[in-house]
């Protein structure tokens, strides 16, 4: 081929290939510009704040900023014996400037979390500084030890040194019922105080069983809806869609009425003689309530994906299976069921993702034994105001959800989510 082979040119004299690429690029930019407003909006108001939750959860700059001189001096201290005079005086001057800014109380509280007894130890130093009892011209180390004997204990100085790094994983450890021991190793809290582990396990357990119940109840009705003639199935579909469109709080309220001790369900049990009238079981404010209410509320999210998959399966396949000698059970198990697996995957993952982060229903009908990890996050956001701990727990939960979301995306594809 000679180099004189003519390139195909457009009317403007530009090679067609270049012109096509230019047009493609223009189209790409056009498409992207359409998505850009929403993407930008979400990044600023949503994705970025979630990232901020992360910095908040590991942030431990407070003490780092409060005791700059101390930590500088501590760099050369090996941490095995009582620190030298220089560390004592650096701490003294740091603390003095905090007293002037009236921020010494915060330091005492924060250090007290690290080591019990710090609050009183620092308070006594504060009183001595206020009364100008410390003579800055002689050894500060000896005077501080005189003020409070705790300053003579190496554990207290080790505790201060531990707070030096501006970042800490302590909140994440706390979320898993662990903490940093004085020597810096990670240990578990006592057996009887491991509340968070119980909550994580309970969240997984409830999400798993709710998914299972939804599957067991959703599969038959999705099958019925997919095989019935249109005019009947449309009518029955309302039974699925009406709860789907109804307010979550309304549905939770109706379960609260049904499940209370004098409620309709208990009335019915008494009527058929299952339980005695004076011995009505408690069905609300425990796990039973959470299971029942969550299953009913999440059931439509199982039925709809199953239905949309089952709708595409031709009924002649089952007939073929039977005509080839399979019993109805064999035909169902070998032909129909494998074809519905994509729907099962979609429904189960969706219900599991929604169940694992549930908050409102467990908070209202769950009582103490039916609350989930979300309730604990809300508790720390609203009651204890430990926002960094709430952020840490939220991100631990989010990691789990994102893993499932990723699997869902691989298996089902997010663009295949069906609504109604």
């Amino acid at each position: 081929m000679s180099s004189e082979t003519k390139q195909i040119l457009t009317t403007d004299g530009i090679p067609l290939e270049v012109s096509l690429k230019k047009a493609e690029k223009k189209n790409k930019i056009k498409a992207f510009l359409l998505v850009a407003p929403l993407l930008l909006f979400l990044i600023i108001t949503y994705i970025f704040p979630i990232g901020e939750m992360f910095t908040r959860s590991i942030d431990d700059k407070m003490i780092t900023n409060m005791l700059p001189k101390t930590f500088k001096e501590m760099e050369s201290w090996d941490g095995k014996e009582l620190p030298p005079e220089a560390v004592f005086s650096a701490f003294y001057y740091d603390y003095k400037s905090l007293v002037e800014k009236q921020e010494h109380g915060k330091l005492g509280q924060r250090l007290n979390k690290e080591k019990n007894g710090f609050n009183s130890t620092t308070k006594r130093l504060f009183r001595n500084i206020k009364r100008k009892k410390i003579d800055e011209s002689i050894s500060i180390k000896e005077q501080m030890i005189k003020v409070h004997p705790n300053w003579n204990k190496v554990e207290y100085w080790q505790a201060i040194k531990r707070t030096a790094p501006p970042y800490t994983l302590a909140k994440y450890l706390k979320g898993m019922d662990m903490y940093y021991a004085p020597d810096g190793s990670i240990v578990q809290v006592d057996e009887d105080r491991r509340i968070h582990r119980i909550l994580w396990l309970r969240t997984l357990e409830i999400a798993f069983f709710v998914t299972l119940f939804c599957f067991l109840m959703g599969y038959p009705i999705a099958h019925l809806l997919a095989t019935l003639p249109m005019k009947y199935s449309n009518l029955l579909m309302i039974c699925v869609l009406l709860p789907f469109w109804t307010s979550l709080l309304v549905r939770t309220a109706s379960w609260m009425i049904l499940l209370q001790q004098q409620g309709v369900v208990n009335d019915f049990f008494v009527m058929i003689g299952l339980v005695a009238d004076d011995n009505r079981p408690e069905m609300m404010y425990n796990k039973v309530g959470t299971y029942v209410a969550m299953t009913q509320i999440l059931l439509p999210f199982m039925v709809l994906p199953l239905y949309s998959v089952m709708k595409t399966i031709s009924p002649s396949l089952m007939r073929a299976g039977k005509s080839l000698g399979g019993t109805p059970f064999v035909a169902f198990w070998k032909v129909y069921f494998p074809l519905t697996i994509p729907g099962i995957g979609a429904g189960c993952l969706l219900v599991f993702i929604l169940a694992i982060g549930y908050y409102i229903t467990p908070a209202l009908v769950g009582g103490a034994s039916g609350t989930l990890i979300s309730n604990q996050i809300a508790f720390h956001m609203k009651q204890t105001l430990d926002w960094s701990f709430a952020s840490a727990m939220g991100l631990m939960l989010l990691t789990g959800v994102l893993v499932i979301y990723w699997i869902y995306n691989k298996l089902v594809g997010v663009d295949n989510i069906k609504l109604g």
């Binding site: 309302i238 109804t246 939770t252 004098q262």
Partner: protein
């Protein structure tokens, strides 16, 4: 579903078991909604069926909780309803605009990084609400929009757009792009083409996405709990506080109204879905 006459007895029995399981599940789904209706007309203050109600005594029924809902002096339902509607309407408009534009871009075959962008846009629907609530609260507090209507509207746009994106992308998947090319070849500019050709065709999808966004906003409580001040109270917040503290029959009156509202929305959504399928030539 009639069984063929040659069906063996054991399969016949199994078939009826299957039907009764289905009946039970449908009952389980729908019955809880209907317990609210009669109790909201209860003449007494308790949330149980009184003896009079069981005997259908007319005196046992009354409209007093509906009167209380509307005229009750201490009741914040009026303010809550006003706030709920204002917030939901603006959030819906915002979600529709942003979501439809994004869906148009995503449906273009030229869109780069389609998968990851779609996954990002849908994420507010997947991420647990409590986490969204915390994150959005941090943001709104920082920019000074906490405890304002604007802040809540923005939050609900975040939560509502995924629904619009999903429904409009689904509508656009059956969209015949040759009609827009035909319009362009006849000299129409892109905006004109969109308004006159594309929009009318995808309108059912847009509206049904908008209905989802409306319901999401109207029913949302977790994020609002973090954001709302006393002035911004909404119906879900009032119901939430009511269910936690003084469980009053007025709540059931409100709940009945909400069920009627959701029935209306369901009917419109269903009609729109059928119209959309007809427009796109899908006949089932």
């Amino acid at each position: 579903m009639a069984l063929p006459s040659y069906t063996e007895t054991r399969y016949r029995i199994w078939h009826y078991i299957y039907l009764s399981i289905c009946a039970f599940v449908f009952f389980f789904l729908i019955a809880p909604l209907f317990v609210i209706f009669p109790l909201s007309f209860n003449a007494e203050e308790f949330l149980v069926f009184s003896e009079g109600m069981k005997n259908l005594d007319p005196d046992a029924f009354s409209l007093r909780w509906y009167k209380d809902m509307v005229y009750g002096t201490k009741n914040p339902w009026g303010l809550a309803a006003k706030n709920s509607f204002i917030i939901a309407i603006f959030a819906t408009i915002g979600s529709i605009i942003l979501g439809t534009l994004a869906a148009l871009g995503l449906s273009s075959r030229h869109m780069p990084y389609k998968g990851i962008i779609m996954a990002t846009l849908i994420s507010p629907m997947i991420v647990p609400l409590i986490i969204s609530g915390v994150a959005i609260f941090f943001f709104m507090a920082k920019v000074g929009l906490a405890a304002t209507h604007t802040g809540i509207v923005f939050a609900h746009i975040i939560l509502g757009t995924p629904f619009v994106v999903i429904t409009v992308t689904a509508t656009l998947s059956g969209f015949d792009h040759s009609v827009t090319r035909a319009a362009a070849s006849l000299g129409s500019n892109p905006v004109n083409t969109f308004m006159k050709i594309t929009l009318p065709l995808i309108l059912p999808g847009v509206i049904s996405g908008g209905l989802f966004a409306f319901v999401t906003s109207f029913d949302e409580v977790v994020v609002v709990l973090f954001l709302a001040g006393l002035e911004n109270t909404t119906i879900p917040i009032q119901m939430w506080t009511g269910l936690r503290e003084q469980l009053s029959p007025t709540i059931l009156a409100v709940a009945t109204c909400l069920i009627i509202l959701s029935t209306l929305i369901l009917i419109s959504a269903e009609l729109l879905r059928r119209r959309s399928e007809r427009l796109r030539g899908i006949n089932r």
